[in-house]
């Protein structure tokens, strides 16, 4: 009984709704400082020593806007599935870049928000992992948008009668 309730709570679409707003707001918040100061953000990206020089500025201009738009769309539930997939991919990319630099041993700042910011480390890795779990939850359980179109599942009597009823 208890695990049943737990499972239903953990897989509920309402939890997904909360996570969706949280994750979306977080991405929007994170993008603002970087959008305002692309030069600083370009330096942060350069510190990671992964992106080639020629692509640094383009990345610094585009990436914060991708964060902003995916975050906004996620909250608006407009193209939210594509958005959450892109957010998950971004988070995986951040994790990889952070881990590579932790392995290299440089005390660079994360560049996650505005300039300066916290240095990379296990704390950041953990934070990103939590956000990634949010994204996976939304991907798996935030089904309303798609399911609304599928009559058999949403409207009573729209599909086949339930066996046993």
């Amino acid at each position: 009984m208890i695990p049943g309730i737990m499972k239903r709570a953990l897989t509920s679409q309402y939890l997904s709704l909360v996570l969706r707003v949280l994750l979306g707001a977080f991405f929007i918040y994170a993008s603002l400082g970087k959008i305002a100061h692309p030069g600083n953000f370009a330096q942060s990206i350069a510190d990671y020593r992964i992106v080639p020089y020629i692509a640094i500025n383009l990345g610094a201009v585009m990436l914060p806007w991708i964060e902003f738009i995916t975050g906004l769309f996620l909250i608006m539930r407009f193209k939210s599935r594509a958005s959450v997939v892109m957010i998950a991919l971004l988070l995986v990319m951040f994790e990889v870049m952070i881990l590579i630099n932790m392995y290299r041993g440089a005390q660079i700042s994360c560049g996650c928000f505005a300039a300066g910011g916290e240095p990379i480390g296990w704390k950041k890795v953990f934070e990103d992992a939590v956000l990634l779990v949010f994204a996976l939850h939304i991907y798996n359980y935030d089904r309303l948008e798609v399911m609304k179109k599928f009559k058999a599942l949403t409207s009573p009597g729209g599909g086949a009668a339930r066996p046993g009823s």
Partner: protein, 302 residues
């Protein structure tokens, strides 16, 4: 003939009927032969009989509004069809069509209803069968909704919209932003190089300064002993804060570049703008310096 029909009935849905009843049924039912791909009944027909297949194959299907067909089943010998409309007193809801030359045992409506009346447990069998169909449908719905969910995430169109809007806003905002940056950074002009040993020699004779152009966090990690830190991003502050400015003819040996930024060349530009006319880039950088066994300051070893 009768024996053959009886054995078919023995394997059919009627198998639990008493032998006597089966024999009786075998005598009274009609045999209908149909060629290949022939309609046995169509959706909308009034129900007249119940069918058991003697030989051959029958396909049960519905035609959907969008002209697609949905096939429910393909039935073979001893299997039956046509009971649904008889049980519900409605017209046929599906089509039955032979796939090959087929022989059918036809139980007329009145006879079917009489058997059902006499052997009520038979209706349970039909009921169970319908329940199986529902469960099968339920499974199909589940599978298809999963499919739908997956496909909705994979719509490239959505990704193109999201990325397209981001690129458009990014470019236009960067254009309008007073803090905007060049999209493709300019390649800095090349600067003459200097070998490690020559640099060391000049440095020992106080003819040269060594400048580490990496950002401060990398400088703190390791740098050539005695090197000043002049990252291009903080050039003005660091230059003012104690870089020797008395002799601009001195050789300035620069090092520090990564895949992401030619820090040495960027700082070299700034130094040349300040009037230093003997700026050199250390050939091989910090690595070559270390390889030659010259002193390097590492974090924690100070």
């Amino acid at each position: 003939m009768d024996i053959e029909v009886q054995s078919i009935l023995k394997n059919s849905v009627f198998r639990d009927l008493p032998d006597q009843e089966i024999a009786e049924l075998a005598r009274t039912l009609q045999i209908r032969s149909v060629g290949a791909n022939e309609a046995i009944f169509k959706a909308g027909d009034p129900p007249d009989a119940f069918y058991i297949i003697g030989s051959g194959q029958v396909r049960i299907f519905v035609k959907l509004k969008n002209r697609a067909e949905r096939e429910f089943s393909i039935l073979g010998p001893s299997e039956h069809f046509g009971e649904m409309s008889l049980l519900t007193d409605e017209t046929r809801t599906a089509n039955a069509e032979s796939l090959v030359e087929t022989r059918l045992l036809v139980v007329p409506r009145e006879r079917f209803e009489q058997i059902l009346h006499d052997y009520p447990q038979l209706s349970k069998k039909f009921l169970r069968e319908m329940r199986e169909w529902l469960l099968k449908n339920e499974k199909i719905i589940e599978e298809e909704s999963d499919e739908l969910l997956k496909s909705s995430a994979g719509s490239w169109y959505d990704y193109i919209i999201v990325i397209g809007i981001s690129i458009f806003l990014g470019l236009s905002f960067n254009f309008l932003n007073p803090q905007g940056i060049r999209l493709i950074p300019a390649r800095p002009r090349p600067v003459p190089g200097i070998s490690v040993s020559k640099a060391m020699q000049d440095y020992m004779q106080k003819k040269a300064l060594i400048v580490d152009a990496m950002p401060i966090s990398f400088y703190n990690l390791e740098h050539i002993k005695g090197a000043f830190n002049l990252p291009p991003a903080q050039f003005d502050i660091m230059y003012m804060a104690g870089f020797p400015q008395d002799n601009k003819n001195i050789i300035v040996v620069l090092y520090g570049s990564t895949i992401s930024a030619p820090y040495d060349l960027l700082t070299a530009q700034k130094l040349m703008l300040r009037g230093y006319n003997n700026v050199r880039v250390l050939e091989g950088g910090l690595k070559a310096w270390q390889k030659s066994g010259y002193p390097v300051v590492k974090k924690g070893s100070r």
